[in-house]
Amino acid sequence: MIEKYDLHIKPLGDSALVVQFGKDVSEETHEKVMNFIQAIESNPFKGFLEAVPTYNTVTVFYNPLLVFHSYPKQHSVFETVYERVQNYATQHGEYVKEASNIVEIPVLYGGEFGPDLDLIAHRNQLRTEEVIQIHSERDYLVYMIGFAPGFPYVGGMDERIEAPRKENPRKSIPAGSVGIAGKQTGIYPFESPGGWQIIGRTPAELFLPERNPPTLIQPGDRLRFVPIDAEEYMKQLGGRKDDDQN
């Protein structure tokens, strides 16, 4: 690991590296991350493939052969990319913060759609209604999309409803499941295996491959979970299916 300018840059194998902007989840760190992404995407180095933001890091993917043939010989391709990346991180302009787009996510909490809701309530000595209220009463900043297409990672969840990941990930979690893992909350866009504690399910579609960008939620958006009942859930799910047919 190399430390300069309070930056941590470390290799992720021989074709990617990770730039860490801090250890915390904060809006300030998020702005540094977005700043960096904007700087590198608007003026990419030769061999740059893509940059992937997370809460406090950006993973920079590159083609080592292109880098090798594009820049004067250095000790290693990693060091060449390291030098370039350091420049983006220290010489970028100000990230222009746009007004957050609020995305409402309807959720049917508990029951068979939220099998871990009781566990989270019990663990945190709350009633299930309180867990639902705490989870849905604030807006969440979307720091990153990851794990699966359109899966939003949001920050700012209330500590009172924290819970660790499952020791053994479930083999299958249904699409639309809303979960908690540590201090994070999120939504599974597809049926998939996963280790999050599941508290509810949304009828909304998160992955929209025919659109560009192909996801409902973008980094920088604010999410608002809206509790709905089973009837409303079925109505919205039914409406969605009708849309698909037209």
Binding site: L12, V52, T54, F147, R165, N168
Partner: protein, 335 residues
């Protein structure tokens, strides 16, 4: 030209080099598990190197062609047969209209690739033809191949047409072939070289020793997303919940079960489990080709060595391209 799937076998999917550029939306890269083998196959049939081919896993995949094809079969030796006769791998093959190709099962390795001159004519979705079944995009209708599927093949270039004609006139398969042991040897036990992962130092000393000196066995929990290994359990000195971070092909994550999971081609874009290691790019083909119950040891190398190995493989490919070009275009097909 058309390929008719008569039986999908265990799993057959259309794969190219994967989706690059949309990981920030969580779009999984996917693509061929053993890109080197697909790449060599494409070179053998004069396709662009990243053209999509068919990735055959394990056994049973069977298809018929309704027009003459120029193909190459590379990757693991899944004992391919054409109309009941063994068909050699790692060389261009003329597949006559009405012929049937099938895979009996692994003699070595796990994944075979069928590269087809002209490429497979399916649309690119989010920049790639690779099948990503979970999101139902890419490949044939966004899913693995099924009985009755018909795949169109793209137009052949003049060179491809000439190569196919000269093979047809031979009435036999070429005797020369690509010696791919530099890519992988299809052994039951392999040494896999890794870089230290981001959280390597957080693991207990005992676990670090186990990881670098112990033997790990590939469990049946192995698919295009990840390979789970069993062996001495790997533990952090003190358990920590980590923030999710970017991961890539070959990232070795360790969930609380202590069993290392190596992320493969269809991995997620980010992960939250501690990473003990990262398989070097040059060793990804032999990792991908491991059969369940194969044994591996992990050896830590430096980033410089990882890069050197990658460039060595690249030199091998460059030599190969020249050799194959000469063999297939200057009348040296049979030598």
């Amino acid at each position: 030209m058309t390929i008719k799937i008569k039986h999908p076998g265990v799993q057959a999917t259309i794969q190219d080099f994967g989706r690059i550029g949309a990981q920030k939306y969580g779009i999984v890269v996917s693509g061929a598990m053993d890109k080197m083998s697909l790449r060599i196959g494409n070179i053998l049939v004069h396709n662009v190197e990243h053209e999509a081919g068919i990735e055959v896993m394990f056994y049973g995949t069977t298809f018929e062609c309704t027009e003459d094809l120029l193909i190459a079969i590379t990757g693991g030796d899944l004992q391919p047969e054409m109309d009941g006769n063994a068909v050699p791998m790692w060389r261009p093959i003329f597949m006559k209209e009405g012929s049937t190709l099938t895979f009996k099962g692994p003699k070595s390795g796990l994944l075979a690739y069928v590269a087809i001159a002209g490429g497979i004519d399916v649309p690119e979705e989010i920049g790639s033809k690779s099948t990503f079944s979970k999101a139902r995009i890419g490949g044939y209708k966004g899913r693995a191949l099924q009985t009755g599927d018909e795949l169109a093949v793209g137009l052949l270039s003049d060179t491809q047409d000439k190569v196919m004609q000269s093979l047809q006139k031979l009435h036999t398969h070429p005797t020369w072939y690509v010696n791919a042991t530099k890519v992988f040897a299809g052994k039951k036990s392999e040494k896999i070289r890794v870089l230290k992962g981001s959280e390597y130092e957080l693991f207990s000393e005992k676990s670090q020793t186990a990881f670098t000196t112990g033997t790990y066995t590939l469990t049946p929990q192995a698919d295009r997303m990840g390979y789970t290994f069993s062996g001495d359990a790997l533990r952090l000195s003190t358990w920590e919940e980590l923030l999710s971070e970017g991961v890539t092909y070959g990232t070795i994550q360790v969930p609380a079960s202590g069993k290392p999971i190596v992320l493969m081609a269809e991995r997620q874009t980010t992960g939250g489990y501690p990473r003990i290691g990262q398989v070097i790019s040059a060793d990804l083909p032999k990792l991908a080709q491991l059969q369940p119950n194969s044994q591996v040891t992990f050896e830590i190398v430096s980033i410089e060595e990882a890069e050197k190995e990658l460039f060595r493989l690249e030199d091998f490919i460059e030599e190969l391209k020249l050799g194959i070009y000469l063999k297939t275009t200057t009348g040296g097909m049979t030598q």
